[in-house]
């Protein structure tokens, strides 16, 4: 027996450590020890030796159940976190009403604040992360590791346990343990060498300097979190720290703001004369792709008149009702057919019908006789004095229908810029669609549908004779 550790009175025997050179003889020794009645023993190997668990009587690990419990908890935590922070609702009460750290509801395309499919990925990751932590830390805790001092490491021979040797230790705490008997048994089972493992009792005490140092260290570690939390809750009179100043104060002005005073307060001076922070386009600038030189196509005006005058419908202000139209209209300027590049055929007529039904029929009616629902309701309200309204014209009205008074160019212009009470539609309807509507209007007029009952037609005719400015004057009086 080779004992490399010296014996003194300060030592206590922990057990006997027997060395074996291969896993097979270790397994045999383990089996022998168990059959001989040893309970407190352990084998030490460089790698997990299969079959050693039953030989030593090791019960199956309960680690999986710990992990399962943590994983189930993580489902609740993961879902609960997302539910709370994104302002989920139960019974009409949302977490965004919480007095502290309220949830925050993101309004995105009207989607629900909490919906399982969108919340599964994060829940899954939370489960995996928690389970991995449970597995990792659970395993070390069950194994009572980390253990920084172990009498086994005092046996120099034991260093080869992580290389190529196999060890069996019979613990002194075992009832059957007897130093000389056990040693004989181990020899009998084929141990290559046997060592006593001694616990050095003086060793088990911590050095005197360690405890106060650990305390001081722990206190020092508390300083950063305390400093952060106190700074977090405190009110500071100094401006906050700006890590990168030119990102916090960017040298720019937003597009629609007033220019700040760039000079001293008494003699103000601004970036531009009109006090905008942004330059306006040079007069006559044309947006890319918007040159629109073809006056027939884009304005419904013959090329000869392209530079002569503005259209009558081009208003001084947005709505006709807010101001009189002071320009003389030249009826000759309007084109009477359709511009080059627009073809009247079945497709464009169908398109025109569709657009007409969407945009025009609300006032002018599907048949064009001025009985759209908006018009009906507004006329009824106007009759009670509850609103002011210029009745929408019937497209079958004699004047409207008259190609000399209302050539196609003028109808196009009406759609584009509005007329009387009617607002402009140039922002809603693209050019080609406007011409399609014109084509459809002409088709409607050609079919000559008249309202049911001649009286209604007569009334409509009478209504068209009433001039818009008069109604507008009446309207202004009512407003006062």
């Amino acid at each position: 027996m080779a004992n490399e550790t010296d014996n003194s009175n300060d030592k206590e025997l922990v057990g006997l450590l027997a060395q074996f050179d291969d896993p097979t003889s270790l397994l045999a020794a383990c089996n022998n020890a168990r059959e001989a009645g040893y309970k407190k023993m352990d084998a030490f190997t460089p790698f997990p030796v299969h079959g050693i668990d039953p030989a030593l009587g090791i019960k199956r690990s309960f680690l999986p159940f710990i992990v399962l419990a943590v994983a189930l908890g993580a489902v609740c935590v993961g879902l609960g976190m997302q539910f709370y922070t994104n302002g989920g609702e139960i019974g009409g009460v949302s977490t965004d009403q919480s007095p502290i750290f309220p949830g925050y509801q993101f309004l995105i395309s009207g989607k629900p604040h909490f919906s399982l499919p969108a919340n599964i990925p994060v829940t899954f990751e939370v489960i995996v992360l928690s389970s991995a932590f449970a597995t990792f830390f659970g395993m070390w805790i069950i194994n009572k590791l980390p253990r920084l001092s172990n009498p086994l490491h005092r046996v120099s021979r034991f260093k080869r346990v992580t290389n190529d040797k196999f060890f069996l230790m019979l613990e002194a705490k075992d009832e059957k343990f007897d130093k000389s008997d056990s040693e004989a048994e181990l020899n009998q089972w084929g141990a290559v060498a046997i060592e006593e493992v001694n616990q050095d009792l003086t060793d088990t005490k911590l050095p005197a300097w360690m405890a106060p140092m650990a305390l001081i260290g722990a206190l020092l570690l508390l300083i950063p979190p305390v400093a952060i939390f106190s700074a977090y809750g405190a009110t500071n009179t100094k401006p906050r720290l700006h890590v990168v100043p030119d990102m916090d104060w960017q040298h720019k002005f937003k597009t629609q703001v007033l220019s700040p005073n760039v000079s001293d307060p008494d003699t103000p001076e601004y970036l531009f004369a009109n006090r905008r922070a942004m330059r306006q386009p040079v007069e006559g600038s044309v947006r890319f792709g918007s040159l629109e030189t073809d006056s027939e196509m884009f304005r419904g005006i013959k090329k000869d008149f392209a530079n002569a005058s503005m259209t009558v419908g081009m208003k001084k202000s947005m709505l006709a009702s807010t101001g009189p139209q002071d320009e003389e209209e030249n009826l000759d300027q309007w084109i009477t057919g359709f511009p080059e590049g627009f073809e009247v055929n079945e497709t464009t007529l169908a398109r025109g019908k569709e657009r007409f039904n969407i945009y025009c029929s609300v006032c002018h009616g599907y048949a064009g006789n001025g009985d759209g629902l908006v018009n009906q309701r507004a006329v009824a309200l106007a009759a009670n004095g509850q609103a002011t309204w210029t009745a929408a014209k019937s497209l079958h009205d004699a004047v409207v229908k008259d190609a000399s008074k209302n050539p196609t160019g003028r109808i196009y212009d009406t759609i584009t810029n509005g007329r009387n009470n009617m607002g402009p539609y140039k922002d809603q309807i693209p050019v080609a669609d406007r011409w399609a509507i014109v084509a459809y209007v002409k088709a409607l007029q050609e079919t000559g549908i008249t309202p049911v009952g001649a009286d209604a037609a007569a009334e409509a005719e009478a209504a068209t004779e009433a001039e818009a400015p008069e109604l507008e004057a009446a309207e202004e009086e009512k407003e006062e």
Partner: protein, 464 residues
């Protein structure tokens, strides 16, 4: 030990159905495995080539540091990202690196669950590579957020100053959770697997500092059978957790694209396509690293030609999957009947970026086909060349997906050609510096081979 020379000891790529080919050559016993695996670490000083490589890696790392500093001081305008390509190289590099980071966990976890014993020699290095690749990957979205000093807004931390929480329905937030979970779990898995081998270092080292550091890191491991029992169960659980995790990570990365509505991104094939590509690129990177590393560390008897051949077979298989995904993308564009999708895909192959697309196809689909020939998949220098092509191809795959779709979006007036700046290029090059610095440090200071695991798959010494 065998007294007659077994032909499989000379060439362990031979397949004999009656007998398993040895995975450890040179007649090594347990001690021989330990001595071989600790070779570089045991040496008084590392070989000259290590210093040379470290110097190169450190200078590239310095370049990366300078670029990150420049970026933080000046803002993200130093990159080429601009309308309409707001996701430029940073996201390309992120997906590239995070994809490479998939091989390690795949080798450790999935091959472990499938009881593929040949994984034992390569899993440690592959896991280390995973972690270093994820570090490189995390860097790019980290600095891409612009104001790095408020990075914690990414996480659900209660704050009265912001008075907001993250939007949990956003794929970008899923990404934060997926990548950080992946990095953490990979680190736990890697470290846990390494503890018995660090204990070997603890017991071998002669320096006092080494004893202290490895003593702390090995947590007092003794190789007790009770500890091994719980350890093996824990390892299996971690493998079972890491397997769906590794698939989920690149799935979620692909959601960054697939959940948007951009033609060429909005497609259901992305998750499997990205995962196959990730395994493909990761294995290629493992081969690229391990062939020089086994030479450098003298590990030819542990990382044998058979290991490399197996990896090349996986590279070829995943390369074919990726190739099929490229084809299916065109089918889906045609079959969907959506003209925007059809335009996006034809623009990829024949538009402004045709050169990137065809680099991708030739590197990813054509190059690995040489592995059908046995000589190609068993000749180290040749497989490294092929794998470098695969790495280039996979970088271009992410480039093609990100850049071509963004540069040709729905509105033709905003179409533009993407130009990277010198910062973009330097950061990509610099990230390799970070990666190789970490890997070289790992080769010198930590156990490159999972010694305990290799020993456990060796036939028992007494002839059983």
């Amino acid at each position: 030990m065998a007294t007659t020379v077994d032909p499989k000891q000379l060439d362990n790529t031979l397949d004999d159905p009656a007998d398993r080919s040895p995975l450890v050559l040179g007649g090594l016993n347990y001690e021989g495995v330990t001595d071989t695996a600790c070779g570089v670490w045991d040496a008084e000083r590392p070989p000259m080539i290590w210093w040379v490589l470290l110097l190169i890696a450190l200078s590239l790392l310095g370049l990366l540091g300078a670029c990150v500093n420049h970026l933080l001081m000046s803002g993200t305008g130093v990159w080429g990202n601009n309308n309409p390509v707001y996701w430029g190289w940073p996201i390309v590099n992120f997906v590239f690196w995070v994809g490479i980071g998939h091989a390690g966990t795949l080798i450790s976890a999935i091959l472990f669950l499938f009881r593929q014993n040949w994984r034992t020699s390569i899993n440690r290095a592959a896991e280390a590579m995973t972690i270093f690749a994820v570090v490189c990957a995390g860097l790019f979205p980290g600095v891409h957020i612009g104001r790095v000093w408020v990075f914690y807004w990414l996480f659900p931390i209660p704050t009265e100053h912001l008075a907001m929480w993250p939007n949990f329905r956003s794929p970008l937030l899923w990404d934060v959770f997926a990548v950080s979970t992946y990095a953490t779990v990979s680190l736990l898995f890697w470290y846990m697997g390494m503890v018995p081998d660090i204990a070997t270092f603890r017991d071998r080292t002669r320096s006092k500092i080494g004893k202290f550091i490895y003593g702390i890191l090995s947590l007092g491991w003794t190789g007790s059978s009770r500890a091994w029992h719980h350890y093996e169960i824990a390892y299996t659980i971690l493998a079972a957790l890491a397997t769906p995790l590794v698939l989920s990570v690149h799935t979620i990365v692909s959601f960054d694209f697939a959940v948007s509505q951009l033609p060429g991104w909005h497609t259901t094939i992305f998750p499997p396509y990205f995962v196959a590509g990730a395994i493909f690129s990761g294995f290629a990177m493992v081969v690229t690293l391990l062939v020089p590393a086994r030479k450098l560390c003298g590990l030819e008897n542990l990382i044998t030609i058979r290991h490399l051949e197996n990896m090349n077979k996986i590279i070829m298989a995943t390369g074919l999957m990726v190739g099929m995904a490229y084809g299916i993308e065109f089918f889906m564009a045609w079959y969907s009947g959506v003209e925007f999708e059809q335009f996006a895909l034809s623009n990829r192959a024949f538009g402004n970026y045709w050169w990137a697309y065809w680099i991708m196809v030739s590197c990813n689909v054509l190059a690995p086909q040489v592995f059908w020939i046995k000589w190609c998949r068993t000749t180290p220098w040749f497989m490294v060349i092929v794998c470098i092509f695969v790495n280039i191809g996979m970088w271009f795959e992410r480039f093609v997906i990100t850049i071509t779709s963004l540069s040709r979006d729905f509105v033709p007036s905003s179409w533009a050609y993407f130009h990277p700046t010198w910062v973009d290029i330097s950061m990509l090059v610099g990230s390799f510096g970070l990666f190789f610095t970490l890997f070289l440090m790992f080769c010198r200071f930590l156990p490159v081979i999972a010694m305990a695991e290799v020993k456990s798959i060796m036939p028992m010494e007494d002839g059983h």
